[in-house]
């Protein structure tokens, strides 16, 4: 079923009709996983910050100059971070369960439903992702053809899953370094695991900022599809004109 007559163009032998087509975009399960993950990951990052504060030794340095210290006092105070280590740990080790279970279900769903085909990068994705980037930055006009997600999205949405797995692995390596000594070894040791866990978290925050920016830029139709599952697609339909008529 179509909404007709948005635009008519008559040529010598056919009519092009621009039509509105409503299609199912995001399966229900994926919408649930997405919207559950959002607050759970937010709580994990917040409680992680409460924990990190107790030994906030990371900084970006060039030579002897500190470029950025994780984190400035103002940020801590604004978020009421100081002296909440125990609280941070109690939230972190409870909500970690939700984060892990939701993550496992999401990955299992994408595998069994076949959705992974639209999410996993293919041979062309890495080349195309570069073209998408140039297009998005308004450097090039050309936009590579895409299916449900463009190449850059495929890489981002797959990378974030591996980052999630990395957070679980590095998290377990810090949480129980004696019992999960293999995980700690794989991460390059206890302190290395803590650094990696931290960097992955910074990665989520950057992902989130770009994600939000892109969602706002792409507009309402795309955003609401993550809630309703439906997206409105505009297509042209060619109707030949019967010369005898």
């Amino acid at each position: 079923m179509y909404d007709f007559l948005l635009q008519l163009t008559i040529t010598s032998c056919s009519i092009f009709i621009l039509m509105k087509k409503i299609v199912k975009k995001h399966p229900l399960a994926i919408r649930w996983f997405h919207w559950i993950n959002f607050p759970v990951l937010t709580i994990m990052i917040w409680s992680g910050l409460l924990i990190y504060w107790a030994n906030d030794v990371y900084q970006i340095k060039v030579g002897n100059t500190v470029i950025y210290k994780f984190f400035p006092k103002g940020l801590y105070n604004a978020l009421n971070v100081p002296f909440h280590l125990a609280k941070g740990m109690s939230f972190h080790f409870a909500f970690a369960w939700l984060f892990i279970i939701n993550g496992i279900l999401y990955v299992a769903y994408t595998i069994f439903s076949g959705e992974w085909r639209y999410l996993f990068p293919n041979r062309k994705s890495f080349k195309e992702a570069w073209q998408v980037l140039l297009h998005d930055l308004h450097i090039k006009k050309y936009e590579p053809p895409q299916q449900k997600y463009n190449a850059a999205q495929r890489i981002a949405y797959t990378a974030i899953i591996f980052m999630g797995m990395g957070s679980v692995l590095t998290g377990l390596a810090i949480y129980k370094p004696v019992q999960f000594s293999r995980a700690t070894f794989l991460c390059g040791g206890y302190e290395a695991a803590r650094v990696e866990h931290f960097i992955l978290t910074i990665g989520y925050v950057l992902f989130f900022l770009i994600h939000i920016f892109q969602v706002i830029k792409t507009g309402w139709n795309n955003f609401q599809a993550m809630i309703s599952g439906l997206e409105v697609i505009k297509t042209e339909k060619q109707i030949p004109v019967n010369e005898q008529a």
Partner: protein
Amino acid sequence: MSRRDYFSKRTKEISNSAYKKRMLFSFLIFVAFVTAGIFAWKWLNNQPNDQGALKPLRKTLEVNEKLLTSTFDTAKKVKTYDEKDAVKNVRVNGLIGMEKTIDTATWRLQVVRGDGDTLKISLAEIESLPKEDVVFDFKCIEGWSQVTHWAGVPLKTFMDHYHLNGQERMNYVGLQTVDKKYYVGIDMPSALQSQTILCYETNNKPLPMNQGYPLRLIIPVKYGIKHLKQIGTMYFSNQKPPDYWAERGYDYYAGL
């Protein structure tokens, strides 16, 4: 395959009226979901405290502990290091319950075997028991760690020597500083792990006062909060002994 081809081939089309109905329905569900989330968050944060942690979170910490300890090998050894890897300046992090000086002429480790039955053991007696060195990565719950070198008698050796076999079958060991202001409870399997020592030396010298002279616990399978300094009293219990940091919202088990 272009984006349009993808949608025309892979997705089901629906009518405009069905679209409107579904839009309304799914947005209502979404609003309900957000509202439920906000209420759940408020509910959780309004729960009563159980020893400094919100009750459901305290419960989760306990479930984590049960789940993990039942699958873990509690006898598993902590990775050890070479003596030369150990730091020379051992970090001092907490002085709660610490005396300024302790005289070992009068100091005795009090081991409570039962009501009115307390062993009093001198430092010399403890030092005469088989000594073990432990060089391991000491981990603070704050997030830092240090490879440090300690020596003393394994708690298991100590308990066997004083015939505390009945006590070994109990669930917990409780420890208190001399002034009883700092106290911990430790589950028996962790206490009897072979690297848990009653420690009187660090870097081959007697413990400095701020490291718990004359005797402290070193228990590599736990965070530093359980490594009680200046031990005054040791006792045994089937119930969880009071624990200083657990009362302040931390996980009771604090195992690694």
